[in-house]
């Protein structure tokens, strides 16, 4: 089987790349090993939230030019990063999720521990707060858990909010909607994860005609007249944003849905929407499989072999490697060095192990291992023993040279580098097609 493009990795970068290839009419295959980092992501998209000195970024696109050389954004330039995010927003809208933003400015995304993270796009079920004054217009906030979900801690969220001087005058209340109120039955409801609660609610509550009003009145009772009601994202996966909208209509309250401890339903929802969009465009999705080796000929990757089909190599003109960082198993390490797990490409060198990390785990530290990853040229082509591989592009967290967490740039880098890989691939195709020459 021969493809125009094969995308390796089904996370945000791989999906963006695959959608763009498929939309351009390329015969595209996407190989996904399983759940991606989106399962552990907020469901918002950050582009650039912090400068290198930890200062907050108000306007992410304007700040790109000040990033250090070698940062993926510097290779793209602000205009292309913006174009790629517009493309992404359009695709999400096509898939039924209208992402919201504050114009060109970042907003604050509230987290389940009451922290504020800068983001640029959020799903409508989450309520973007102002970056400078997150508590603007808020006098009373109600934090309501659902069925005592162990992966959402209202007391900690309240404690986190109280750490913001802006929330000093805001009254915080805590509540819980009991499992029996919303017809949730399980062997032990206190052990359910977000996804299990959503599945049971679909079966036991929302299947009933009065299900929505039952939940709405429970929220009203628990929240009183709060200006903002914070709920754990446990109500639904795919149609969660619509559900929040309907509940707002029923309750007359402003509801904010927050990702719990994993799995994060807003993140899964985003992955699901993008996969659906990709399939709609005719793309082939090979799920549960992974690439075990590549057949290289000098500067080109000719074909790949996967775990499930070891005897049938998949051939393509172009490949995109978007396998993620260490926790997605795109990168691997041993006591003395690190490697790209898929093709053994050249990686940003790391020095000795004791210099890979900082002695403080969370305390504002920038761990060097976050910057580790595959080294590329300005077109995001990687090297293998110094040799550029011209028909292979790298995208997302497998890339080196940026810190997705400390910079709050994970989403934007994934989308823009995935988008650029596809842009470069499709550009070659339209040339070929324009000249009416068969590709092979």
């Amino acid at each position: 089987m021969k493809y125009n493009s094969i995308i390796i990795g089904g996370g945000l970068a791989g999906l963006t790349s695959a959608i763009r290839c498929a939309e351009a009419g390329l015969k595209t295959a996407l190989i996904s090993a399983g759940d991606s980092a989106l399962t552990f992501a907020s469901g918002s998209i950050d582009v650039l939230g912090f400068r290198q000195n930890n200062a907050l970024v108000d306007y992410p696109f304007e700040a790109i030019s000040q990033l250090p050389d070698g940062h993926p954004y510097r290779k793209l330039g602000a205009d292309q990063v913006r174009q790629s995010l517009n493309f992404f927003t359009g695709q999400m809208a096509q898939a039924g999720i209208e992402m919201s933003c504050h114009g060109q400015q970042n907003h604050s995304r509230l987290t389940a521990l009451g922290a504020m993270r800068p983001a640029w796009l959020s799903q409508p079920g989450a309520k973007p707060l102002s970056l400078a004054e997150p508590a603007a217009g808020l006098r009373r906030v109600a934090i309501i858990n659902i069925a005592g979900c162990r992966d959402f801690q209202p007391a900690l969220l309240a404690a986190g909010l109280k750490k913001h001087t802006d929330f000093a005058g805001v009254e915080l209340t805590i509540g819980d909607i009991r499992a029996d109120t919303i017809s949730l039955t399980a062997r032990n409801v206190y052990e359910l994860r977000s996804l299990e609660i959503a599945r049971l609610l679909k079966r036991d509550l929302f299947s009933r005609p009065e299900g929505l009003t039952t939940l709405a009145s429970a929220i009203n009772k628990a929240a009183g007249n709060a200006d903002l009601v914070v709920l754990p994202s446990v109500l639904a996966v795919e149609n969660g944003n619509q559900l929040i909208h309907q509940l707002e209509a029923h309750t007359g309250l402003r509801l904010c849905e927050l990702a719990t401890l994993p799995p994060s339903l807003p993140g899964m929802r985003m992955a699901s929407a993008l996969r659906q969009r990709y399939r709609q465009l005719g793309g082939l999705l090979l799920e549960g499989d992974e690439v075990v080796s590549g057949n290289f000929d000098n500067d080109r990757l000719l074909s790949i072999t996967t775990r499930l089909n070891p005897s049938m190599p998949l051939t393509a003109d172009h490949f995109v490697l978007a396998t993620g960082s260490f926790f997605s198993r795109g990168l691997d390490s041993n006591p003395s060095s690190l490697t790209d797990k898929t093709f053994n490409l050249d990686v940003v060198t790391a020095g000795q192990r004791q210099h890979w990390s900082n002695q403080h785990f969370l305390n504002g530290s920038q761990h060097p291992f976050c910057y580790f990853g595959i080294e590329t040229n300005d077109h995001f082509n990687p090297y293998q023993e110094g040799q550029v591989i011209g028909n292979l592009y790298c995208a997302g967290a497998v890339l080196g040279g940026f810190n997705p967490v400390a910079e709050a740039s994970a989403g934007g880098v994934a989308i823009s580098t995935g988008w650029l890989a596809a842009k470069q691939i499709t550009a070659q195709y339209s040339d070929v097609r324009g000249n009416h020459v068969e590709s092979h």
Partner: protein
């Protein structure tokens, strides 16, 4: 200033201090134990957890060997829930002298330790993961002991007899009146509050930190700190303790414990002023891996979970400053007799294995000074939890792995938190099967004040994920239990807990550990934004810093951002 009066103050919440508190309480003395951190946080909690048969010392130190086998038999009787009777193998590898075996066996026998020679085939049958190249093996009654549980149970027993633990209370000086030690000046490290505890007898059981306590009275106890490092691997790769049958050396003991195995230890002299800042070095990790793989080759393919190190409290007696006269045995000093400073007793040296005996010796000295003639019962009276085997615990709605883990850790006391209540039975730490009920029990009954303490009482966060999900869940429970005024502390304790876990992961940061650390970092700093909570209001918005402010405001912003 808070003032408390009692009969005995014990300094140091290790196995020995906890043992003294228990012994004093059982003999009817009013006693308070002060600990600057949490129980078992020092050397007690940073060793192999090996229940020595004494075989390791048989050839080089008969006296210690005899002490060990005696205490070994006592612990089997009184601390069943803290120990596992795994037995141990002393194996001879091709690079070792097989002739040492005979010497070893006869030394064991003369110390009263059973030592049964096995053929390589017999050894491989009972311990399939042992290095198949072994030339011979000797089976001895080694076992494992959980030092956290031993210490917590001793405290629990003491408290039930009127003793009292005050953790997070640091001694800042000794109260000395008319040439007599009459108590301790302390500070609550959490609140900063000063506390004076007046007592008739003060017991210095502070281990390696005992030198500082003695210095408060201008006495000199010279400690020679020796750092020992260990690695934890993520599976229980051996079912018996495995030693090398040769003179004790680096990294030659592999001990199974709960769900994991431990390889250790190295030995390195460290300057006394560095004892708070010791770390596991890369070359120690290398040595531990290389030597451990010789004991069980499968270790090379097993994930290393974390590394840690402790300091052995070796004591130099008299005025020997060279360190040649270092004792590994028990050192008991009644400073009334030795230095004409009555009221102060120091108990130090020794080993985890002999901590009960050390406590007995110290308490005998206290009792003598106080005219208390009650008999020591600590060698016969089982610790709370030790009767788990016989206990009937009714919890039909709890799955066997959960009730089994609870019983394994808390013996018959597990009955007080295993119930039919769904909320209580909800699993909070899936790696180690810790329920909400167990967490509440540890907070209410075992003096656990934060997440790090909870780990020592329950094993929460000690599994493969190193506390990724359970730290938030448990912090939520602690904050619910202790009401809203403590929520901020609970939130802060997540960071402390993860930092404490990180200390152990960082020396072995590769492969799966790297994968897990990357995930944790992503989860806490990205998804949950934890770092933003710590640095508020440090990250000043760029616009505040620059053009939009007047010069005057700028200077304020600059000051605030410092």
């Amino acid at each position: 200033m808070k003032q408390i009066e009692t009969e005995v103050v014990i300094i140091g919440g290790g196995a020995t201090g906890a043992g003294v508190l228990r012994d004093c309480a059982l003999r009817g003395m009013r006693a308070i134990l002060v600990e600057k951190d949490d129980i078992a946080n020092g050397t007690t909690g940073r060793n192999h957890g090996l229940m020595h048969s004494g075989a390791r010392y048989a050839v080089t130190d008969q006296h210690s060997a005899v002490e060990c086998i005696k205490e070994n038999r006592i612990l089997r009787k009184i601390a069943g829930h803290c120990i596992e009777e795994t037995d141990g193998l002393f194996i001879t590898l091709p690079e070792d002298e097989l002739s040492f075996q005979d010497k070893f066996i006869s030394a064991c026998h003369s110390a009263g330790i059973s030592a049964e020679p096995l053929t390589p085939a017999e050894a491989l049958r009972i311990e399939p993961n042992v290095n198949p190249q072994l030339l011979g093996a000797v089976r001895v009654p080694d076992g494992t002991i959980d030092p956290f549980r031993l210490t917590a149970s001793s405290i629990l027993d003491a408290e039930e007899y009127g003793g009292r633990l005050m953790n997070y209370i640091r001694v800042t000086g000794l109260i000395i009146d008319n040439g007599r030690v009459c108590g301790v000046h302390c500070i609550n490290v959490k609140t900063g509050e000063a506390v004076d505890i007046r007592a008739l007898q003060v017991v210095n059981a502070a281990g390696i930190w005992g030198q500082q306590i003695a210095e408060y009275a201008d006495l000199s106890i010279r400690m020679f700190p020796a750092k020992g490092s260990l690695l934890i691997v993520d599976y229980r790769i051996n079912s018996m303790v495995i030693n090398r049958c040769r003179k004790p050396a680096d990294a030659d003991i592999l001990v199974p414990g709960d769900t994991i195995s431990l390889i250790g230890t190295t030995s390195e002299k460290v300057p006394y002023q560095d004892i708070e800042n010791i770390r596991v070095n890369p070359d120690e990790v290398e040595t531990l891996l290389t030597e451990g793989t010789k004991l069980c080759p499968i270790m090379a393919q097993t994930r290393v979970l974390r590394a840690y190190c402790g300091v052995r409290p070796l004591v130099s007696l008299g005025n020997d400053s060279s360190g040649r006269n270092i004792s590994r045995g028990i050192v008991l000093v009644d400073h009334g007799e030795a230095d004409a400073l009555p009221g102060l007793i120091t108990i130090t040296g020794g080993k985890l294995m002999t901590s009960r005996l050390m406590a007995e010796m110290a308490t005998d000295a206290v009792a003598k000074n106080l005219g208390n003639s009650s008999r020591c019962e600590t060698a016969e009276k089982p610790l709370p939890g030790a009767r788990g085997q016989q206990a009937e615990i009714h919890a039909p709605k709890v799955s066997i792995p959960v009730s089994g883990s609870a019983k394994y850790r808390h013996g018959e006391r597990a009955a007080s938190f295993l119930s039919d209540d769904q909320k209580q039975n909800a699993i909070i730490c899936e790696c180690e099967m810790v329920t909400r009920g167990e967490i509440e029990y540890a907070v209410n009954n075992l003096n656990a004040k934060n997440l790090v303490d909870l780990r020592r009482r329950t094993r929460i966060g000690m599994g493969p994920c190193q506390g990724e999900m359970c730290s938030c869940r448990a912090a939520g429970i602690v904050s619910e239990m202790t009401h809203s005024d403590n929520s901020e502390n609970a939130l802060d304790s997540i960071g402390e807990f993860l930092q404490e876990r990180w200390k152990g992961v960082r020396p072995v940061l590769w492969g799966d550990a790297m994968c897990e650390a990357d995930f944790s970092y992503w989860l806490y700093d990205n998804l949950l934004g934890y770092n933003q909570l710590q640095s508020i209001p440090a990250p000043v918005s760029e616009q505040l810093c620059t053009e939009q402010l007047s010069t005057e405001q700028k200077s304020i912003a600059a000051v605030e951002s410092v």
